[in-house]
Point group: D2
Chain length 431, copies 4
């Protein structure tokens, strides 16, 4: 983790002074000056301090003794955007439970189908969310609110908030969603409105910066392991068996990396952060078959994009459309061994959406609860334009601009990738 | 279930008289004349009896008081063939445990990689199987013996049995494997050798005739449900969301049918037994979207083959190569709605081998144990050229020629398909 | 399975002629004279027929072409009684979906807390059930209707049905519940009312007669296996490790039996049907420890009741209160080895309600759907005083008096117990 | 997390200079001066630095460029001690794989049954561990080495290491085990032997200090959630239903706390760190029943010990024997409501060992791999008397004396307990 990650301003915007006493008595309120240090290297920290600079730190999340919003008659809204992720419903439930039970907020709009739900022209009526209505939704995957990709007109969306008298908007989504949230917050600031925008960062790829681990990731690793186990069982049962698994991971290969660590059945882990060539991969694969008779490959969907002619087209969320590296590799491997008259048995497994569409496991569910609670605490205190994060064993506030400033990726020099290479036994470089 | 299913001779071949007292005292030995009636219709049965015909019935499986083989110094062999199926290792374990603990058989060859392991030219040395070696293999998917598709030269295989002094061969496999086993048994009979060939029928598609349910099917339905749930969650979260799931089922749609029953989230279930046309399916799909905003389709891999130009090519097991109906439908649906300017969100999920490669659940595991035990009982009593089956709440012996005479399929007139149609709400016919 | 099981009258009561055409077109209606033969022994069947007797058979379940009830304005009610069982919510959902979508019934009362909900003095207002309301309840364990043990006054309950104009009552419950349902049906008959009472038999112990397997049992075996695996892991990790697992099974040991088959890790399976003495069990356990160093015992809660002084007290459902054989054995084993100065490590595991409280797996879920659909078909056709069953690969109608006439138990002479003994290796008798 | 936690010396002992080049080329070796800051509060850190003190920090774990041990002919040993924990086999496998594949160590003793295996008088012969032998053990719960509680004579154990020429001992265990390891390291130092002792901290209770999360904890939370869901389903299905779940947690209530967060179905979470009285708990429970009709209680086994007369007796590991708070509460609740003539339905669930005996899930499995790898890296570099830890997103080295200096507990003032109280809605204090 490089120091320059923390270059961004980590101060949190506020709508105004917090003067309303919290209706909820808790064991301990978080003080406004509690912070969590960002960097981990004590030498660098000491050097900064010696140079008169404060080392980067995050504001600590948690319930505040005084609120900006008076809960009486307050209306909040929730929107989920982008692709599914295990735990979306848990986050929704946590926000509703906290608003209702901790603060007494009774009016909660569940906007439908992502930012579309904030565009009045599309006619999606919000759901009215209550504790009873969300009690069991954590057992289900998906999102009860629905979702969509892409932005809507910011002016229209803020108009909707004003028209419905929504004073807090919770946005649960990824990179694109959060940029949208920042735009909404900016428009709110331009109009000088007392409306808070608080995000909960969602990414199945675990690729949001300044967040140690994104919700749903623990669940996703379990699904990925199932696919790898199936591939391993297929590969081992055949002579020259090859199990090829494609996993999610557009720009960051965390799921593929953890799938390699979870059972150490993966022999080649291919991720977007580490380019590879067929000229290096295929002979290494052939050597593995010679030595052990079978092999398992886990490839992140964003790996090897230079091989599949990524053409720069983008989807509705602004994500670059990917070439299909999985099918490409499947054919390339078959061709390679066919050309050498080596009989292989290749089994291709693409768990695709099952990685992200099933319910969260217990650990992720608890994590979602804590993220949702802390999002409500932040919003009620009048903070805005932030996402709730987790860092260094503490829940934190991260300014949206800092969170979206760059994508978190696996550092090939860091302990994670070093360990993956040790687990797979693959060559350090496949170029 | 039609009466003509039972037209085949259901008598079981024997190598000779069973005169060796069983070393294992059990609660009750199965008598040689115990049988299980095959048909279920009492009127038809009465009519047959009135006409002087015996209604079709299966020999009951179970431990026999007298054996054909003397266990002292006896050598048995096990081979697993064809595609993986949950429970393969459980069956192997059951056979080993029963041979060893119930009969005192100490020499058990685990032939490698299907029938290849019986071809000495290929040089696969058998594993020596022991109770300790198989104790925990039920927790793993796949087969510890390895597998392969296709036959080997029958003469060579019988030579191998003779050379190794293997007196019982257990073959765990599907249609093609069992035909191979029948050919081995025929060659053994031709040479007048005292070698038993006993099969355990394996098919992830549940398509072996005269067997109520094949092992691994309960586990496969659970995997299929996961895929359907993921598809449902994806579909419901989007406007005009369509979840399209391709499931195993080459000639028989049992997995797809049960996936439709398990959660009733499937709106269109497409199986090989019921042809459909795009002209009927796509407007019905459009209507479903109009009414409910999302839809889930479960399609068996063998459905709609007339649409994808199945060309008659065959794989090494002699199975016809299928056109990819899943990808075909995916494109056809996209084209259909694009042509009508209807924006949809289609998510395609193909769990592929995960359906068959993971370990068996408890119910299947128990079933495998009982199949394996009964296979050993049958073999030790000198029965041959049979598979162990389950019918009418009893374990049975089924002659291999009867078991492979036709493929079990869903009868569109039977209760199962009627119930699937009621569960999905799809039109009775999609042509 | 003994022939005398089928001594009861298997004819089904009807409220009157079915003359209303079914609104639902299906592939094939079940004809009124379709039956499923009950016995399996062809010799016994032939002997009966030769003696001029019709062999026992069940009426086949399924949709009928003509109904007794006109669906317009029809009101139905559902009640769940007794202990939880995986799949209760699936059955409720299936009944609601079938009533609504297959027949157009729009008024469906969900009576609360078992038969209490039919007693107006207790003031439980029924839920109004709709397809939307039950869509996802299959993902949850328990019952959304609530449940209770014990009867209520029959006159009051029928009064409630009359007052609410409920014309079909679906009762989902076990032995006691079904006796209650029969009493309700008798009172309805006495008053000559056109009200159908149709049951779906529920028992976690799989102990209802004339039903091959009760819903939830497949799920329960999976939970039981988890407990056995934990016990095995604990036992194997210790010197003289003993894992003792108590499982549900009051009068019938099916869960314990299947837990012994699922992994063959159980060394002693103790069930209510087979008495045992400490004098036989404990030395056998000591011998097992001497030979293998660890042991696993699975004991059904109803086993060995003569050892724990069952005193005849009964709970609200009329079930005899059991002595705690698990804790008794735990102490007896500890005392036995302490007295012999043998150091052991005993781990006691009682999964208790987790066996029955969690959601149904896919196979059970599909089974529940089919049971629920067929219950609705039976009721709409005017059949009453019956439960829906499964036998010989067909769904059936079973008169309630026949279903509750005796409890299904493991026959120690049958294939199941013989196989369990072969799996555990325990002595045939432990007395 | 209080600052005084880090008062201990965090420097790591070394056997001598590391001069042997590592045979394994990795992406990046960890430098000897890389450290991870321990405290999170930037103000406190700045204050320390201003006062001329270095803020506490851990040595970073990872592969070293130079080793102390020459791998040629090197012999290592592994021992697992104390209670089971999900992931034990994963750690064993990771250590074996790393020793073998990363360093070329070929002689690996698997000592049996905890420290007993190091006592030659007990005659437990070590297993010889190889990559093939450990390939699939991660799929199984328990430990293939066996385990035991309690110490053995330190002199004898070191004699064993010397006699077998074991140069590295990996000890996987909890508080007591690590104290034993420290004693072994001290005896080694006294004799001036070149033998490294490296621990992997194991505790199902997540209660080892200076380690952010112990392995197996994520898996344990999933098991605990199952028990809570069962209890919730039972409670909600009954009038005045109470689900009472006892969970592991002797001195620290982390499992109970996370079980309350994972589904927010828990209404009262009782942990060792927060005393409670029946006088406060029972009326609060009665009030909950009045308002909502059902309640779920999760109680850690070490909670409320002042109520159950903990008498100070200790088990073989030196752990204080606990009174059974679960059964105590069960009776106390029944008595309380019986005395008030309130009919309740209490269901008691004690998942006991299933929490710790089942296999690790994917996330824990990956974590175990990384702990095991880093333990090997540390040992090969000549470090000793340490455990491998995880802190602040980095793997660390923690001196054993620091790790066992105090038990990690939930701080009632910290974010975790505050969030649990918000999730359950229980009173802040129950005294």
């Amino acid at each position: 983790m490089e120091q320059n990650e923390f270059d961004h301003d980590l101060n949190i915007d506020r709508l105004g002074p917090a003067t309303v006493p919290s209706p909820k008595r808790v064991m301990r309120y978080t003080a406004d000056d509690e912070r969590v240090i960002a960097a981990t290297d004590p030498v660098a920290i000491a050097r900064q301090l010696a140079a008169g600079q404060a080392p980067a730190s995050f504001e600590a999340a948690g319930p505040r003794e005084f609120l900006f919003f008076n809960p009486d008659g307050l209306r909040a809204g929730i929107v989920t955007c982008g692709g599914l992720c295990p735990g979306l419903n848990d986050v929704i439930r946590a926000i509703v439970l906290s608003l209702y039970h901790h603060y007494g907020v009774r009016e909660i709009d569940g906007f439908r189908f992502g930012y579309e739900g904030l565009n009045p022209d599309l006619g999606h009526e919000p759901l009215q969310l209550t504790p009873d209505g969300v009690e069991m939704i954590g057992e289900l995957g998906g999102t009860i609110l629905g979702t969509s990709r892409g932005d809507q007109d910011v002016t229209l969306m803020v108009d909707t908030l004003v028209a419905r008298n929504v004073r807090i908007l919770f946005t649960i989504g990824g990179d694109g969603t959060l940029r949208g949230a920042a735009a909404i917050a900016a428009e709110i600031a331009r109009r000088n409105l007392p409306i808070a925008v608080v995000g909960v960062p969602k990414t199945i790829d675990n690729d949001i910066s300044l967040i140690e681990r994104s919700f749903g990731f623990v669940t996703a690793t379990a699904e990925a392991r199932r696919a790898v186990q199936a591939a391993h069982n297929e590969a081992e049962a055949a002579r020259n068996g090859i199990g090829l698994v494609k996993l999610m991971g557009r720009e960051s290969g965390f799921i593929a990396a953890y799938s390699a660590l979870a059972d150490s059945q993966v022999n080649f882990c291919l991720i977007p952060e580490c380019p590879f060539t067929l000229e290096a991969l295929l002979p290494a694969l052939a050597e593995r078959l010679r030595q052990r008779g079978h092999a398992v490959i886990a490839v992140a969907e964003g790996a090897g994009q230079q091989l599949v002619g990524r053409d720069g087209a983008r989807d509705a969320s602004g994500n670059v459309k990917m070439g299909d590296i999985g099918l490409f590799l499947k054919e390339a491997i078959k061709d390679y061994f066919a050309a050498r008259n080596v009989s292989i048995s290749l089994k291709y497994i693409d768990p695709s959406y099952t990685i992200r569409s099933l319910p969260a496991n217990a650990y992720d569910s608890a994590y979602c609860l804590l993220l949702g609670f802390n999002a409500v605490h932040a919003a009620m205190s009048g903070r805005t334009n932030l996402v709730v994060g987790y860092w260094n064993n503490h829940y934190t506030h991260v300014p949206i601009p800092a969170a979206v400033s760059r994508r978190k990726q696996i550092d090939p020099e860091d302990w994670l990738w070093t360990s993956v290479l040790l687990a797979t036994g693959q060559p350090r470089e496949l170029v």
